[in-house]
Symmetry: C2
Subunit: 214 residues, 2 copies
């Protein structure tokens, strides 16, 4: 079992975008940042339910397949679940509708825990006020032999990297310069010293960068 | 003829380092940042004068060869020539001793021009107080059919990129997270829109990223 991170980042290291407007609530940068990933056959099938076989099948798709393989539990920050935008809404069940694309226990770090939320597809959100080490212990127990993903956001990922808790960091570096947002690299000077390194370039121009010690 | 930039940068985009100390005036980060480049056979031969054939011969070396090919003139900032460290030293002739590794006219941007300095190996430093467009016009004229390199530092490179004057930006992205220094990407949001893109991974783990429009 390994503790894994997968993120799409820009060449300048941003994993979030800031060009959202009232007219364009997602902004344009986000779709550019995830374009190669969302173009894969695996994304189209696993996330969009499109089983026509459409989508790219090269290196980006191989990484997309690995992304979905062998995950037994996920950890995310309160912001990724939406608690910062919905602090007082006891009925808030996340952004993902009735079928959150996790299908495993998800541990949400928050200073204001609430009751667990269970979905029919196997996704169960648990809310914990805990240190990274503590929540990881619970997630590993829930995952059994499978891996645990630190899903996001960027600050949560950096917190786990900083604590030395991540075994495999995979970044899909997209050929864009975004200029603002949350940068994966801040405060991670020297992180490479604890890991083996590999980089591969996909047909899309995305460089898949992996630090791993497992 | 093309206007070219070649830089070694870290994964987090830094092309300069900040760990210099009195005991270790170059710091350790710099040698790590340029390790793959200085390991090439081309660097050893062209810069160190080592013609024994030692050095790497893979993709890093191919880029090192291209680095030295077809340059007819160079442009650099005052800091790269050393004018910031030696502002009042009229005898200062740069960091490079009697054989500066340029062998072409070099145009140094400075608010305090001084007389040109000529070396026996063909290197001539000219000092200009001028806009990027103006100095480029002179460098292109001096280069004839050959290319012009914007040598550095980072701020000078960004200035030329910002002005849309660079035809080919080659970054050797080294698998290090340095955490501080001068970042190539700052203020360059959207720069990719004007260029074709290519990335290739060398045996060393360095990703050679190239934006080009020529």
């Amino acid at each position: 079992m390994a503790v894994r991170v997968d993120l799409n980042v820009s060449l300048d290291g941003f994993a979030t975008t800031t060009d959202q407007t009232a007219e364009n609530p997602f902004g344009e940068d986000w779709s550019r940042l995830v374009a190669a990933y969302t173009a894969t056959r695996t994304f189209r099938s696993r996330v969009l339910g499109d089983d026509s076989g459409a989508g790219t099948t090269g290196l980006d798709d191989r990484y997309a397949q690995e992304y979905f393989e062998n995950i037994g539990a996920e950890i995310m920050g309160a912001g990724m679940f939406g608690l910062h935008q919905h602090p007082d809404d006891a009925e808030w069940r996340g952004w993902w509708g009735d079928e959150p694309p996790f299908e495993v226990p998800v541990f949400v770090l928050t200073h204001s825990p609430r009751d667990s939320i269970e979905f029919a597809n196997g996704t169960v959100f648990h809310f914990l006020s805990a240190t990274p080490e503590e929540v990881l212990q619970q997630a590993l127990a829930a995952a059994g032999e499978a891996d645990v993903r630190i899903g996001g956001g960027v600050e949560t990922v950096r917190q786990f990297l900083h604590a030395g808790l991540v075994d495999r960091l995979h970044l899909a570096v997209n050929p864009l310069v975004i200029g603002s947002g949350e940068r994966i690299w801040d405060d991670l000077r020297g992180v490479e010293k604890d890991y083996g390194f590999r980089a591969e370039v996909a047909e899309s121009g995305v460089t898949h960068v992996t630090f791993r010690r497992d």
